[in-house]
Symmetry: none
Subunit: 212 residues, 4 copies
């Protein structure tokens, strides 16, 4: 056990003298009263795509699940230890959130791995390969159009994958039921890690930059 990374300790000291110091009352109230976030964000682990940064969100605002490539599996009540499904269940059944946002982002390493037919497993356990296999035949269905650039293919799959996760989300009976009742809204978003733009899914399923 090495000593705790100094850059994290320094960062925490900044937090204490900065945000904590300024918002102490609110933070303590949140601890005492319990969290009541209205939104579940399903995002990627990527260090460049933190939801709290992108949405300038403070403590108590966002319930955040982060896995590689922000994937959502289908509803599988088979007794397995499904971490993503547990977070979705907790957010909806335990916290009563009213919005779910599946947020992908550009240059996603997991999507890139899924796109590369020659990619080798990172390790013999091949957890990434198994995890990304949740996309099934979607990468292959992008076809072999040789006038589509690699970047375009990547962005395309990032967005297809968001729609796939949303489709899977709706296999959860309570997601479907609450959405039908107008008590829960499911959204898609895609963040451009280079120019900072947020693209959101419109009623057609297209990604657009929202009007300001």
């Amino acid at each position: 056990m090495h000593s705790f990374p100094q850059h994290l300790l320094d960062g925490h000291a900044n937090f204490m003298s900065g945000r904590y110091s300024r918002e102490k009352e609110r933070i303590r109230d949140l601890a005492e009263a319990g969290q009541t976030p209205s939104t579940l964000i399903i995002a990627c682990c990527d260090s460049r795509a933190a939801p709290e940064m992108i949405f300038d969100a403070g403590p108590g605002e966002l319930f955040v699940l982060r896995n590689v490539a922000n994937l959502v599996p289908t509803y599988q009540p088979d007794g397995g230890q499904h971490g993503t499904s547990a977070a979705i269940e907790f957010a909806i059944k335990g916290l009563g959130i009213s919005n779910i946002v599946v947020m992908g982002h550009g240059r996603c390493g997991g999507i890139q791995a899924a796109l590369d037919p020659n990619s080798k497993p990172l390790d013999s356990g091949d957890f990434i390969g198994k995890w990304m296999s949740m996309l099934g035949g979607l990468p292959a269905q992008l076809g072999q159009n040789d006038l589509m650039t690699p970047a375009e293919r990547q962005t395309a799959l990032e967005r297809i994958s968001i729609r796939n996760s949303i489709r899977n989300l709706r296999t959860f009976p309570y997601v479907a039921a609450l959405e039908t009742d107008g008590k829960l809204a499911v959204h898609g978003a895609w963040f451009d890690i280079s120019n900072g733009e947020l693209w959101v899914m419109d009623v057609h399923g297209d990604f657009i930059r929202p009007a300001l």
Copy 2:
């Protein structure tokens, strides 16, 4: 599909005019060159415990996995879609990170559920129950001392669970090997969501507030 939540759009506008505007160069370089975070944080989905807030971290610094109660399973290369293991594999094998921090926090809803012998599943799928069953007999081993308060039992299990996740982390062959070679360090941390304090594991496995 409802329209995208306005508070998220407003937050993103703040991001663009604030941090993005100030750090544009760095953010674009990060997009271009790829991420090279040195640290994987395994944290909870709780809206009051965002790693980027706690460590005042900017884009590119932290690769962040968030699931309910920041649990890590044992190494199980069984072909299942293990999201947490995929993130760990990607962080180590794909990004070459040199620090892993398992960070728990106070008043964790998942831990609370694990402690309550009378808790009912939130849903018939019972994903939370199955997920928290990763703790095995640890909650029961806390005993039935009636002079221990509920808050004390909760803090005790939050910390026990961090140690359990660290023990499980070391069942990943590459974690154990890299740690032995001094190329990877595994840390534990516990965040007090009320007073903002960070407690870190020392060489004895105890949680202490680091000297400033």
Copy 3:
């Protein structure tokens, strides 16, 4: 009979030229008028946990009972020579104190002995073993969780023991009656002998650091 320890004589000379010299009037008045402390502190014999040091208290302020591990037995008017009960009776019935503080502390040797199932009696008289048996099954009720560190178990039992002493205090009929009448308040405290912090029991029985 050896000569009186020189370090104590030197210390007393310091007292005479220091505090006594400065507070002579008050000290003499206290001798003449009699003591009227408002608080009984029940503390441990440990050399690192003197109540007068911890509370920066001067002559006349604290009526102080110190035994191993600051234990209070239940009310047992059986004719035995109960030293702790005698001090409590004297403080309440003789001096009319209005506050009782049961103060435990970290790294308590008596608690450590109670926690070790393999500890051998220090002596054939085994006074420590008999004395600590006042805790009954509380140490065993902490369970056998192997991911709880020895230091955590110790702190847990130190705090449980304080609550047990408070529960026992309330078996004294006058303690219960005066407390009900609002004429006596019973408090718990735990002193960290390393960092100097004082933790006090809140309304839930939890130990917290009081806000300054």
Copy 4:
């Protein structure tokens, strides 16, 4: 449960900014390395006779047992919960202290109660009466000399009682054995709570003011 007494919180704040701040290193070392006091002081609970004040002693110096009237019972390994004997056993067998000081003081309330043949029990439990009965016939043996003032009788019994406690101490087999071997010294002291003087027992058992 009332809120913790403010005067104690204020006193602790003084401790933290005063002594703790000045002696932090030493105090932390003591916590880490364990206490090694060389002296056990058996003193009274009286608020005007704190050993640490009288001997200007800092953390780690004195292992302090305080009961009403600083009494020591005889060695009674009968299975009872003897608090005073437990502290003596711990000090000698557990800590290896080399000096024991039985310290009485002027105007002691316990001694006063023992002297008054008309005194009524403070309470039906009569813990004080039972406790002071440890002196047996000693108060009565002072006789009825009507030219001895009450103050003289009180001082006389205070000093007689110290010698009685020392006699009882020597019924502890290890006290007697270690004293014979020259590894333990037993001392008597009497503190004048009015003028601050310390009187110590000489080789004849007389109380004298030590030469400076």
